[in-house]
Symmetry: C2
Subunit: 439 residues, 2 copies
């Protein structure tokens, strides 16, 4: 008598991430949105009567990718301002555009577009930080994508909120509203040490302890912000956060480009996590993050795309390649950050940073079925010696064919299941014309 299952996947290779390694001719069994079992294909077909069986010849099945830092709605600003020095980019292009255009509708449309892009490229979870997170949350739910919504906080007013208290109140209300949604989780997202006062950090620290949520903040992205902090506070930003008691295993520092040895140790000692955004750091000329040193010290590192205004792809597949190559070039060690390590950073390690590693990040029985099939049969992938190496160094996001979130099919043979590409393109075109209008 066979056991029932919703879905039986039969890829050529399963790369579970946990445990490490590649399984050939194995099946992944999904039931009620969960991974039920990973076992040899023959045994699986003998043991299970599945509602659906999908053969995936020449495909590798990997855990859904976890984007540890994004501003999803900024997809509408993709390529809006390139090849500019950072302060010109921010002051003359990005901030004025945001001030004029960012609204509930902008964030909903931009987040939908970003979710469509991410799902198509195998990203099933996003750690997001932007204005109007309620609109973002609704968009992620519509897309059926997993997200950690940042309860964003800044001191200065925006179309979304008037001051830090208002941001915090709105963030907490959002969480009250959406906290029963199984795909959504929440983080405090104080924007950065240079936009947040000590008093506000203090409030956030108290709330974090009460609610047990992650803190998601930009940190040591540029040399300038460190100079400014030394001038204003007499200490570097990380030291300031340490003194305020913010560093701990719930702290996700984004970028950490300019960190000295003592700061690397500080992050490691407190069990902090780093969201590494290699493309964005290069494009904005922020610098080269010491990824190898951070990892050697024991800091847990996930990968982030950052927003589409500074990357301009929400593409963790190319981010894996960029991270692996850059770490080798910067460290001078061609053996640094091997493919399997980078794949773990883009999945399980990022999930761990979000405190979601009991739920996602690997193809492990009991976890939610966030799964991605990558077709390695294309000519550009030939020959295949090692599928894990190919996932990082050869494949592109265009080789992703199927994506499941929580066991639900989101990308079917490269086509989005729930989202209408024509409609999303029309929305993007609408916002482009608004953004390029004179006056």
């Amino acid at each position: 008598m066979k056991s029932p299952a919703d879905l039986l996947l039969l890829p050529q290779w399963v790369v579970p991430v946990d445990p490490v390694g590649t399984l050939t001719d194995h099946a992944v069994v999904v039931q009620d949105g969960r991974i039920l079992e990973v076992l040899p294909a023959d045994a699986a077909q003998a043991r299970y009567a599945a509602g659906q069986t999908l053969a995936l010849p020449g495909h590798a099945l990997i855990p859904g990718l976890v984007n540890l830092h994004g501003h999803a709605a900024m997809s509408l600003l993709r390529g809006f301002a390139d090849d500019l020095p950072l302060m010109t980019w921010l002051n003359e292009r990005i901030w004025p555009a945001e001030k004029k255009h960012v609204s509930d509708a902008f964030v909903r449309d931009g987040t939908l577009l970003a979710a469509a892009e991410m799902l198509s490229g195998g990203v099933t979870t996003c750690n997001d930080m932007y204005f109007f997170p309620q609109a973002a949350g609704e968009a992620f739910l519509q897309a059926g994508m997993r997200a950690t919504l940042g309860m964003i906080v800044l001191e200065f007013p925006s179309a979304y909120a008037s001051d830090a208290d208002d941001y915090l109140a709105k963030g907490l209300a959002l969480r009250d509203d959406l906290k029963e949604e199984p795909l959504l989780t929440f983080a405090f997202a104080p924007h950065a040490p240079y936009t947040i006062s000590d008093a506000t950090f203090g409030r956030i620290n108290t709330l974090t302890e009460q609610l047990g949520l992650p803190i998601h903040t930009h940190i040591h992205e540029t040399a300038d912000e460190i100079r400014d902090s030394l001038k204003q506070y007499g200490v570097r930003p990380l030291e300031r956060l340490a003194r305020l008691g913010l560093l701990g295993p719930n702290f996700i520092g984004v970028h950490a480009v300019h960190v000295n040895e003592a700061e690397i140790d500080l992050l490691a000692e407190h069990g902090c996590h780093v969201a590494h955004c290699s493309s964005s750091n290069l494009k904005l000329a922020s610098g080269l993050a010491p990824v190898v040193e951070l990892m050697r010290a024991g800091v847990n590192i996930g990968l982030g795309t950052d927003g589409a205004a500074s990357n301009n792809r929400l593409d963790l597949v190319s981010e894996m390649r960029m991270t692996a190559l850059l770490a080798k070039g910067v460290s001078g060690d061609a053996a640094a950050l091997p493919a399997a390590t980078v794949l773990k950073m883009a999945t399980l390690d990022a999930a761990r940073a979000l405190n979601l590693d009991d739920r996602i990040g690997s193809i492990t029985p009991g976890k939610r079925a966030d799964l991605v099939a990558v077709d390695l049969r294309g000519l550009v992938c030939q020959p295949v010696f090692d599928p894990v190496s190919h996932l990082v160094y050869v494949a592109g996001r265009e080789h992703v064919t199927h994506v499941w979130v929580d066991g639900k099919l989101k990308l079917n043979d490269r086509r989005l299941v729930d989202l209408d590409s024509d409609d999303l393109t029309a929305r993007a075109t609408y916002w482009r014309s608004k953004l390029t209008q004179q006056g």
Copy 2:
């Protein structure tokens, strides 16, 4: 009365590279394999009676990409050895495999696979260096791809040749054989200063002057080769080549990672060209080439993929993005290497290095019709503010839909016209099984 034309292309944007800029709603007219005229679409349709008219809505038409450094046949070693220190990689993996397996048949199959990959990704010309260049030449001709064949020279024996004289004799015979082929040109390809004696460099220098051909050689890729040269010759490799009289406007130095200010000036003064291979330099941990400084000094720089054992993609679209981002990160200037500059490096500047800029490298009337259409309508490309920025920072090679070489269609709606993907995959699989056989 309308004028005849073979082909009328109607993309949304034409990016000619020369002149600089983007033309909207223009047509490119092709006749007898040449670009006849670039003019407004309306005027073109009124003036020409074309054998074929192709509307390319939402596409950008760009010049064919020129890969300034490759070892095409190494496509068969794609992912064969990753994440290893350079000397382990070479001594324990690549060289033994080459010694055992590289043959006429290996090079033909590998070059065909590489040509298929490059054409699919918009690369229409390749500056190649490998053993058995005759087999490579025949493969490029079969693929209908433009190539500069390197007449490779080494001092040590291989399956291909026994000593430097033999390499040279075979190279010159190859040139005699194929020099009437319009798609093929030739370069002397002494492998590197550490594998070539002064005497052989001297012979090559004489031959180069007689025949007016480029010299294509690896130079200053690693710090080690410089140390070794100081020990053996008392000077750094570039200084040695300068003394031997090899530097000049026909000199293409590959990599140039470790070049000091004086060497940058030396390259500039002699009108030398550099083939910059960002991904390969990172992956082998060779270092970070001073691209911005080289360019500022006036050195002409093209982009190269290097071989698939060290990249592992023969993909100039991602190489453009990597080069632009890396230059910003390394120079600390987010305005360094803007998109249009990088596109020029991957086309006209590389053509110039090969002394082919009178023939290819830009969409300029009179030049050969090496053309590439890139579809920017996909969701991941939305919205489009500037197609040139999108070509570099957003698009992937998978967005290339049509490719012409010498006016002949090579890729039609993402399908290779002349090459059989299944057959190439079977050949790659055959060589993989040979390469992974024990003993």
